[in-house]
Amino acid sequence: MMVDVTLWAGLRPLADNQKVVRVEARTIRELLRELEDRYPGLAEPIKGQVAVAVNGVIYRNDWSQELPEDAEVLLMRRLAGG
């Protein structure tokens, strides 16, 4: 399944300045792997700074989360809370 992943501004320089990257992935894990393979510079941020928003729901840690058909996927920075 093909998914369009939107990168936050800070990540774009690490991905050939692309805002949206189209990858083949069924789960968050596959998505992150694919991004890392294609853009090795993303490996470092993906390790600890990234959360994935799927259809508006933010997943901080969960690799197993499946990506629904036509999912809207964004990479976001992990947030701090009080």
């Binding site: 800070g10 259809n55 508006g56 729901v57 933010i58 840690n61 809207e72 920075r77 701090a80 009080g82």
Partner: protein, 753 residues
């Protein structure tokens, strides 16, 4: 076992009731033990030496005179905390903040610490540590720090997020941009535009309990830490990483916590206490003074924010733009970025652009404070929204309703919203009696909205059923304000037993799996999910035990209302088995009964609130008083409504203090002038009215009971709500928080010519 977190829309027996909290008696009798209420045999007293300079190179530290003081057992400096952070900038910032390495970066920055047999010896030694400082130029103001001639704090900081990468170091650590659409085109379409700059001053979480810990390192490599923290597992990891300890050999016990609000989410002095203990080979107790708390822990960002919003005459916003500068202390954080993400989150915007600029200054390292960064952004945006509504001639609530985000809206920070509560809170505000109550002389009414993300995260819970059928739940999220009561209600609901048969305890790091902190409004959300999961697992075990007791197949046993039932009629009219019945036979049916859960609680629903307040201003002195205050917020599902109300009221009170009187005041020398509760003015009892609350329940689709986090959002709207009320009362737009009497009086004088 995989856990289905989908919302079930069930009716509740326990959830939504208001039982007495299980730790209440301990806390009203003085028996509850907080950070400073614990001692170990042979324990030493620790004191920290702090920089009197806002910015200074540490040329040399000579501890020889201090070491000679009788009763001094250990002195540590940065040399005793070698850099093991391996390029992790966030961890390095925590390390450098715990103990200054090359430079003292702010007034109050730790430079050395002493452990001695008593306060007297520790104090004497502190006065005899000779630090050779080279005082450097400093900058504390957010705007001044971005000027070309500002002293550069860190030669290694080149603004990230701009192309091409700058060649000169700067105090702007990074730039983050969010938004969509074409704002320039949007402003072209606008009939009216409001554009204004705002400022907010730095505040502190102001928890009443200073940081405190007892550290004990043994020669065999094991260690213990008793500490007040929002997350003992995180503290364990921080300390293990910074001191080179094995995480599993460091047992961290969280004390009762006397307030945190984000300020106890990472370590401050705990690694120092452990380092002292390691060096002295004795337990060490370290308790910060109030002055140390203000000078060297916690604060939030000071900000400078420019907002521009355009709308058509019919009230449709065509474009919105903001540039947000946030101080982060001496180390880069993501505070401006959070401000940029949250600023327009309440609205459905065709074109929006926000830019966050993270500014390093010679102030303490910024820590999270309840919905970090959102209140200042909301102050600026909600002030501008109000001003624009006035300009258009529309009611402030109607204008917001017209532009409010709803399910399917693409948020200003990126994702598309699911079901959300901004519209309903606004509709509730519109019809709330407060909105139509008459105002007295010199009074003004203001309202504002607020947003916060809410977190989930890693969670682990144990649920153990005793032989008498009572239940212990061991959780790993620190109870900051009543979560033991909420979680007991959840367990009672899921198991179908009485609240009184459940005891919730906070387990230490050696007896339970890892848990993220109690932050991001995640405590009840995440741990309730894990508790439901653990209860379901325990029910599964009890079904098996019941099948065994009845000698019938497992599939013929179902669970309902706290009992195992035999399905159908083929097993005769067997009386259902209660938890107590099954527990009593546990020894014969396979041993202790327990349910465990390890999960990542994702899908925390975003949270919205709308606040209304009335302010009375004394036109002759600029003094202002909150005369009425109403909080309306979506809780998803209020598990224990009293403590949900408490979160709403507490957040509002903190926001009111921020709006009116709280601020860090620095002298020309860069030293903090008000490190105490006398001149850092948090609201006192006589400053506030009763705070009315209205809980809305728009279920979170990603939680079995529909729960959303409730802890933080309530601090987001007050700054703007109060600024709008004061502006309406005095007829002058107030754009600098806090709205202290001198600022209000100056504005009144200007308006009156």
């Amino acid at each position: 076992m995989s856990f289905d977190a989908t919302y079930q829309n069930k009716s509740f027996n326990s959830v939504g009731t208001r039982p007495l909290r299980p730790d209440g008696v301990d806390k009203v009798t003085g028996r509850a033990r907080y950070g400073a209420d614990f001692n170990m045999p042979g324990q030493l007293v620790a004191r920290v030496l702090r920089s009197p300079h806002a910015h200074a190179r540490i040329k040399n530290i000579d501890t020889s005179r201090a070491e000679a003081v009788k009763g001094v057992k250990a002195i540590v400096t940065a040399a005793d905390l070698p850099d093991l952070t391996d390029g992790d900038a966030g961890l390095f910032a925590i390390l450098d903040n715990c103990m200054a390495r090359e430079k003292a970066m702010y007034d109050g920055h730790a430079v050395a610490a002493v452990a001695a047999i008593d306060q007297k010896a520790a104090k004497a030694a502190l006065n005899l540590i000779d630090v050779d400082y080279e005082v450097l130029p400093h900058v504390v103001d957010v705007d001044a720090a971005t000027l070309p001639d500002a002293p550069v704090l860190n030669e290694k900081i080149f603004t990230q997020g701009v192309e091409p990468t700058p060649t000169m170091p700067s105090n702007v650590a990074n730039r983050a941009e969010f938004g969509h659409g074409d704002v320039d085109a949007g402003f072209e379409q606008a009939d009216l535009i409001v554009e204004r700059s705002y400022k907010t001053e730095q505040t502190h979480q102001g928890y009443i309990e200073p940081h405190a810990c007892v550290a004990n390192c043994n020669p065999d490599g094991t260690a213990e830490l008793w500490v007040c923290t929002q997350g003992h597992f995180v503290y364990r990891q921080n300390c293990a990483d910074l001191l080179g300890l094995e995480a599993s050999k460091l047992r961290v016990t969280s004390s009762e916590i006397g307030g945190g609000f984000g300020g106890k989410t990472h370590v401050w002095a705990e690694p120092v206490a452990l380092a002292l203990s390691r060096k002295a080979n004795r337990p060490v107790k370290l308790v910060m003074s109030r002055e140390e708390v203000f000078r060297a822990s916690g604060p939030t960002s000071a900000t400078s924010i420019d907002v521009k919003i355009g709308a058509k005459k019919d009230g449709t916003i065509t474009a919105a733009e903001a540039t947000l500068r946030y101080t982060s202390g001496p180390y880069a954080g993501m505070w401006a970025e959070l401000g940029a993400m949250t600023s327009f989150a309440c609205y459905d915007l065709e074109s929006v652009k926000t830019v966050g600029l993270e500014v390093v200054v010679n102030r303490p390292k910024v820590a999270a404070y309840r919905a970090p960064s959102a209140p200042m952004a909301a102050f600026a945006v909600e002030s501008a929204i109000d001003e624009l509504a006035h300009k258009i001639g529309m009611d402030a609530v109607d204008f917001r309703i017209k532009n409010a985000a709803s399910e399917g809206t693409k948020s200003s920070y990126g994702p598309v919203y699911g079901p959300i509560g901004i519209g309903p809170t606004l509709e509730a505000a519109k019809t709330h009696p407060h909105m139509s109550a008459p105002l007295g002389e010199n009074q003004g009414r203001g309202m504002a909205c607020g947003f916060w993300f809410n977190f989930g995260g890693q969670t682990c819970t144990d649920l153990n059923i005793s032989a008498d059928g009572t239940v212990t739940i061991a959780v790993g999220t620190v109870d900051v304000g009543g979560s033991r009561a909420s979680l007991s209600l959840i367990a009672a609901e899921e198991l179908g037993i009485s609240y009184d048969d459940i005891k919730a305890v906070i387990a230490d790091t050696s007896t339970l799996g890892y848990n993220d902190m109690t932050d991001g409004s995640r405590g009840t959300f995440s741990t309730s999910m894990a508790t439901i999961s653990a209860a379901r697992n325990a029910i599964e075990v009890m079904r098996q035990r019941a099948a065994l007791m009845w000698d019938i197949p497992l599939e013929d046993v179902y669970w309902e209302e706290g009992h195992a039932h035999a399905a159908g009629t083929k097993h005769g009219n067997r009386a259902p088995l209660s938890v107590k019945d099954i527990a009593a036979e546990a020894g014969n049916t396979g041993g202790p009964i327990a349910g465990h859960s390890e999960l990542v609680a994702d899908g925390a629903g975003v949270s919205f609130a709308t606040h209304i307040c009335d302010i009375e201003v004394d036109p002759e002195t600029g003094s202002s008083r909150v005369v009425r205050y109403t909080v309306i917020q979506d809780a998803g599902k209020a598990v224990h409504p009293s403590y949900v109300e408490g979160q709403y009221q507490g957040g509002a009170a903190q926001g009111i203090g921020w709006a009116l009187n709280e601020e860090y005041i620095y002298g020309e020398d860069g030293r903090l002038q008000n490190p105490g509760f006398l001149d850092y003015r948090i609201p006192v009892c006589s400053d506030l009215p009763m705070i009315d609350t209205q809980i809305l329940e728009i279920p979170n689709p990603n939680h079995p009971y529909g729960v959303r986090g409730v802890g933080e959002t309530s601090i987001v709207p007050p700054l703007a709500a109060i600024a709008n009320a004061v502006s309406n009362a005095v007829g002058v737009r107030m754009a600098h928080i806090p709205l202290s009497p001198p600022r209000i009086l100056a504005a009144l004088n200007e308006a009156n010519g």
